[in-house]
């Protein structure tokens, strides 16, 4: 338990000190997005990694949070913090209600249903032009502000968003180490046995689904207020797949894996810019290769790789002798 606390404190320290080491304003800007993506990957990981339920519509909830916040503030002049709260509550409730029928489905059917849900939400963003501004987007969303500080540059946004990231990571860590996390892992191992032990598997899955949606909506709100602009193209099916990729690459059922996956996949395109058009292929390959050869993600895969290399290195000298 104590080790967990130390690990987390180290992370907090890194996050706090990072801006000192990063001089380029641009990297700070990328780190802001890493933060938002971490929250989204974390939200999805709770569902995908811990509850074992796939969602290919996660971008929809992210978008709902962004749009609710955006419309309330830009069009109706609501306080941004209030709008964020409203977005989170509405999306959580919506997911809770839709969760009951949708989580009755399993495997491929669930994948397809969530995918459909995501597409429906995406279509609404595009078509409800009067509210959302349609395909060309919604602009004029104000920045968040707190006691006179307006979060309008990368440094301020960095601290704002990473506060949220650390908070949600902390909450998630607590959750997965509690009776609920235990029950989730149990459902993963044997749903029948968990139910016989009195675990209401369905309700739990729905709760996690709602929590995951709500957290995504908060991330959406933060996104809207840092970008001050939202457009539907950011919330399509591709982004849902990108989020799944983050979780898979980082590591299923690992809170820190979500951070790793989000960071890697947000920074990767920056590195891949040299490859221009080829990055779509790299994406596809990554998904396949990781699932095939490193199903535990980097969090579990890399240590395993290291120990494999180490054992091979150890063997080598003896071969020489």
């Amino acid at each position: 338990m104590n080790r967990e606390v130390y690990k987390f404190l180290v992370l907090v320290a890194i996050v706090l000190l990072c801006p000192l080491a990063v001089h380029e304003g641009y990297i700070l800007n990328v780190l802001v997005f890493v933060g938002i993506h971490t929250m989204l990957a974390l939200a999805l990981n709770l569902l995908l990694g811990y509850a074992g339920q796939i969602s290919l519509g996660q971008a929809g909830f992210f978008g709902l949070g962004a749009y609710i916040s955006g419309i309330l503030t830009a069009t109706h002049g609501v306080n941004p913090w209030l709008a964020m709260g409203e977005g989170a509550v509405v999306v959580t409730l919506l997911a809770f209600l839709i969760g009951f029928p949708i989580l009755k489905l399993k495997g491929h059917y669930l994948a397809m249903a969530t995918l459909g849900l995501g597409i429906i939400i995406y279509i609404v963003f595009n078509e409800a032009v009067d509210q959302t501004g349609g395909p060309s987007g919604l602009s004029g969303i104000p920045n968040l502000s707190l006691g006179g500080i307006i979060f309008d540059n990368d440094l301020k946004n960095y601290y704002l968003i990473w506060t949220f990231v650390l908070l949600s990571m902390g909450l998630a860590l607590n959750l997965v180490h509690s009776r609920i996390g235990r029950a989730l892992r149990a459902i993963h191992d044997s749903e029948v046995a968990a139910r016989v032990m009195g675990v209401n598997a369905r309700l739990l899955k729905v709760q996690i689904f709602a929590l995951s949606a709500g957290l995504s909506a908060v991330a959406g709100s933060l996104y809207a207020h840092t970008m001050t602009f939202v457009a539907p193209a950011s919330f399509g099916f591709n982004f849902s797949v990108e989020l799944v990729t983050m979780v898979i690459i980082g590591g299923l059922a690992s809170i820190y894996g979500s951070l790793l996956g989000a960071a890697l996949l947000t920074l990767l395109p920056e590195l891949l810019r040299a490859f221009q058009d080829y990055d779509i292929i790299v994406y596809g390959l990554l998904l396949i290769i990781m699932t095939m050869y490193m199903p535990g993600g980097l969090v579990k895969g890399v240590p395993a790789l290291f120990s494999a290399i180490r054992s091979r290195l150890k063997r080598k000298p003896s071969a020489h002798a």
Binding site: E24, G25, Y26, I27, N29, V30, F33, N126, E127, V129, G134, P135, S136, G137, S139, D154, Y223, M227, T228, F229, V230, A231, P232, A233, S234, F239, P269, E270, L271, L272, R273, A274, Q276, D277, D279, I280, I289, M294, G301, L305
Partner: protein, 379 residues
């Protein structure tokens, strides 16, 4: 995995390092184009044209002895990626100006970055709200959709048609067109009797057209980019609809005629002059630019240069003019851009001023019609 990652990182770092070494003696211009993703039909010719014209300028010795360096990032049509890339261009690549993005949505997202950082942005997207109201640092080269709409409505007036059906694609291009069609209709005494949309990936629009067939409409105006309008042209033929069919400048390239085949015959649309460059009278001010552009594009890319590429061509040439007149600092470029007068480019004749950062009048468009599988000017 690890074996792959290392070369990638090394390569990326090297290219960044190489880039920063060059910086001193060159003028860096950033470009944001949707080279992949749904709007790649815009981004690809734009990137190609921009690269082509930058190479040409450099081959002729650059601007005032300094070479241009173009840094292109792909935005995939996604506003998030466009903003990230814009930040990178400004803060890491330290560009003095940015051309692009390709779509209105991305431009709306990026313009706040440009405004905040004080870097001139020349958008290649059509949406009129990009420069209306005028923003200090933001210009555009693509003709406003409103101009295209005006051109069509004038023609309708001439034919005494006052009831139209509009069929627009549900993406940024179509949404902007739909907005402008509705906004201008009353002014021309035109009534929109059917207002329908279709999805960018739809493959059958007979439902919408059947509804239009059953309505009072006397003409159909369709607003979209390939391949949707080609499907619509075919569907119109299938349903035996005899109403005049108007399209937008979104399909003003040979590609559209290839896709729609016979069904394209007789379709009228507003277009930049580029597709009819060779038949323009010699007195046309743009003719020289147009012919040069078309020829170069053909030489470099073995393909038809279209007016999307033209937007990027214009943007670079406008920058060139501004830098030649002023200097290569962002503020000087901005000030000089605003003083551009009568530059005859691909999209039209640009005249910017403090109240107008779009710079084109409605004569930027001509009406063309498909006749015998080719474009012909409508007089």
């Amino acid at each position: 995995m690890k074996r792959l990652l290392l070369p990638i990182i090394t390569f990326a770092l090297l290219s960044i390092w190489a880039g920063s070494c060059l910086a001193a003696s060159t003028i860096k211009i950033g470009a944001l184009f949707s080279v992949t993703g749904p709007p790649s039909f815009l981004g690809e010719p734009e990137r190609n044209s921009a690269k082509m014209v930058v190479d040409e300028i450099n081959a002729k010795g650059g601007i005032k002895g300094k070479k241009l360096e173009l840094v292109v990032y792909d935005t995939q049509g996604d506003a998030t990626k466009a903003v990230q890339a814009a930040n990178r261009l400004i803060k890491e690549d330290k560009v003095v100006a940015i051309i692009g993005p390709s779509t209105t949505g991305e431009s709306m997202a990026v313009l706040s970055v440009a405004e905040k950082e004080g870097i001139p942005l020349i958008s290649c997207a059509a949406g009129s709200k990009i420069t209306d109201p005028v923003k200090k640092w933001v210009f555009k080269t693509a003709q406003n959709d409103g101009l295209a709409v005006t051109k069509i409505f004038e023609h309708l007036n001439k034919r005494k048609i006052n009831k139209v059906a509009i069929l627009t694609v549900s993406d940024g291009f179509g949404a902007s067109g739909r907005e402008q069609l509705k906004a201008h209709a009353a002014k021309f005494g035109i009534q929109i009797v059917v207002d329908d949309t279709y999805g960018p990936k739809d493959t059958d629009m007979t439902s919408q057209l059947t509804k239009i067939r059953g309505s009072q409409a006397q003409a159909i105006v369709c607003w979209g980019t390939n391949p949707g309008p080609a499907v619509i042209a075919k569907n119109v033929k299938q349903l035996g609809i005899k109403l005049p069919l108007y399209m937008s400048h979104g399909v003003s390239s040979k590609k559209f005629i290839d896709l729609a085949g016979d069904a394209a015959e007789g379709i009228i649309l507003p277009s930049g002059r580029v597709i009819v460059a060779d038949v323009l009278p010699a007195s046309d001010k743009q003719k020289k630019s147009l012919v040069a552009f078309v020829k170069d594009y053909q030489k470099h890319y073995k393909a038809e240069g279209d007016h999307f590429g033209g937007h990027a061509w214009d943007a670079i040439m406008l920058l060139k003019g501004a830098i030649e007149r002023g200097g290569d600092t962002p503020a000087a470029i901005r000030d000089q851009l605003e003083k551009t007068r009568g530059f005859a480019g691909i999209g039209g004749i640009f005249t910017y001023n403090t109240a107008d950062h779009a710079g084109l009048a409605k004569d930027a468009f001509v009406l063309v019609q498909v006749r015998n599988k080719d474009w012909a000017l409508v007089k």
